[in-house]
């Protein structure tokens, strides 16, 4: 894997990417706390170049094959495109709802949205905002913007998970950026993966150099 990294992105490009991710995530957490009132810590991201055919194994390890873990996936599009994946340990749904300060619905039991749907809604909303914050800030630094598909949730080890993992083109390479997030107040943590594929690489390399260039 290491020798391949030299081909896909150079060490210098990797360093720029690392610093950019640090800045993007730092800015994102600051805004999340102040603007949305969600306090989350994001760790310094770990960046790896993974051959797509190795991606299923990487993801399975990362997700820990915990069939109860919840995974939210959201695709983003633009010059820089790929997927954001948030992996939450099982049972996080209820804790996250507390984060959103959602009150019990006062509606009739028959009219009420079932609890599992509300939990799911909470997961999707937080994920949408978290992924949007990180990718949004990152794109902003690189002078571009992306559009998003609606997020989807599935459980580790489910059919949807399998089909997501197998949906990547095996001849390609992905840059995987992993960060651990921690909603300290609510004792929920998990991790965020940003995968970007082969199509974005040329653009990304140029954008990284342009970014550094603007500081010269």
């Amino acid at each position: 894997m290491e020798s391949k990294a030299g081909e896909i992105i150079s060490q210098e490009e990797r360093d720029i990417l690392q610093e950019l991710m640090n800045i993007a995530f730092g800015n994102a957490t600051a805004d999340l706390a102040q603007v949305i009132d969600i306090y989350v810590q994001l760790s310094v991201p770990d960046i790896q170049v993974v051959a797509i055919n190795k991606l299923p194994d990487y993801l399975k390890d990362a997700i820990n094959s915990d069939s109860k873990s919840s995974i939210v996936e959201q695709k983003f599009w633009g010059s820089f495109q790929g997927s954001g994946l948030l992996v939450f340990p099982s049972g996080s749904g209820m804790d996250l709802l507390a984060l959103l300060h959602e009150k019990e619905s006062e509606e009739e039991p028959s009219n009420k949205v079932p609890m599992d749907l509300i939990e799911k809604g909470g997961l999707l909303e937080i994920s949408n905002i978290l992924i949007g914050a990180c990718i949004g800030k990152f794109s902003e630094l690189l002078g571009t913007f992306v559009t998003y598909s609606p997020p989807q949730v599935f459980h580790g080890n489910s059919d949807e998970c399998e089909s997501f993992i197998n949906g990547f083109n095996p001849s390609q390479t992905a840059i995987v950026m992993k960060t651990v997030f921690d909603f300290q107040d609510k004792n929920v943590s998990g991790f965020l993966l940003i995968l970007t594929g082969y199509e974005s690489l040329d653009w990304l390399r140029k954008a990284l150099h342009d970014f550094l260039g603007s500081y010269e």
């Binding site: 610093e19 640090n22 730092g26």
Partner: protein
């Protein structure tokens, strides 16, 4: 007058970006350290006039390194650079005795401004 500047940051790119923004016509000697521990050691060795300190670093983070340096030299001038500028972080850092805080990515003019403020402070001593 500033003659020596020490930059402490684990990211080579961040150091490069900072160096490129520091005015080149003032004859500043610039030194680098890649983590907090190295930063403290270099401070003792070089006794720079100004330190740029990143917060998130391995081995010894920016908070601890700042505290240590100020312990060694209460007149140390430390400018903290960080991407996460929540009010809580800002007050934590200022309480430690940092001179000021710069948000990453720091544009060249804010760096130049900060350096000018330091020059002013040293001149008034």
């Amino acid at each position: 007058m500033i003659s020596k500047i020490l930059i402490v940051d684990d990211s080579p790119v961040a150091r490069k970006m900072l160096i490129n923004s520091i005015p080149k016509d003032k004859g500043y000697e610039i030194f680098e350290a890649t983590n907090g521990q190295e930063g403290v050691a270099k401070y003792q060795e070089l006794n720079p006039d100004l330190v740029f300190m990143d917060l998130t670093m391995p081995v010894l983070d920016g908070y601890k390194a700042t505290a240590k340096i100020i312990e060694l030299d209460k007149n140390a001038i430390i400018i903290v650079t960080t991407a996460d500028i929540q009010p809580k972080s800002i007050s934590n850092v200022m309480e430690l005795g940092a001179f000021t805080l710069l948000k990453k990515p720091a544009k060249a003019d804010s760096i130049v401004d900060a350096i000018e403020k330091v020059e002013l402070k040293l001149a008034n001593k």
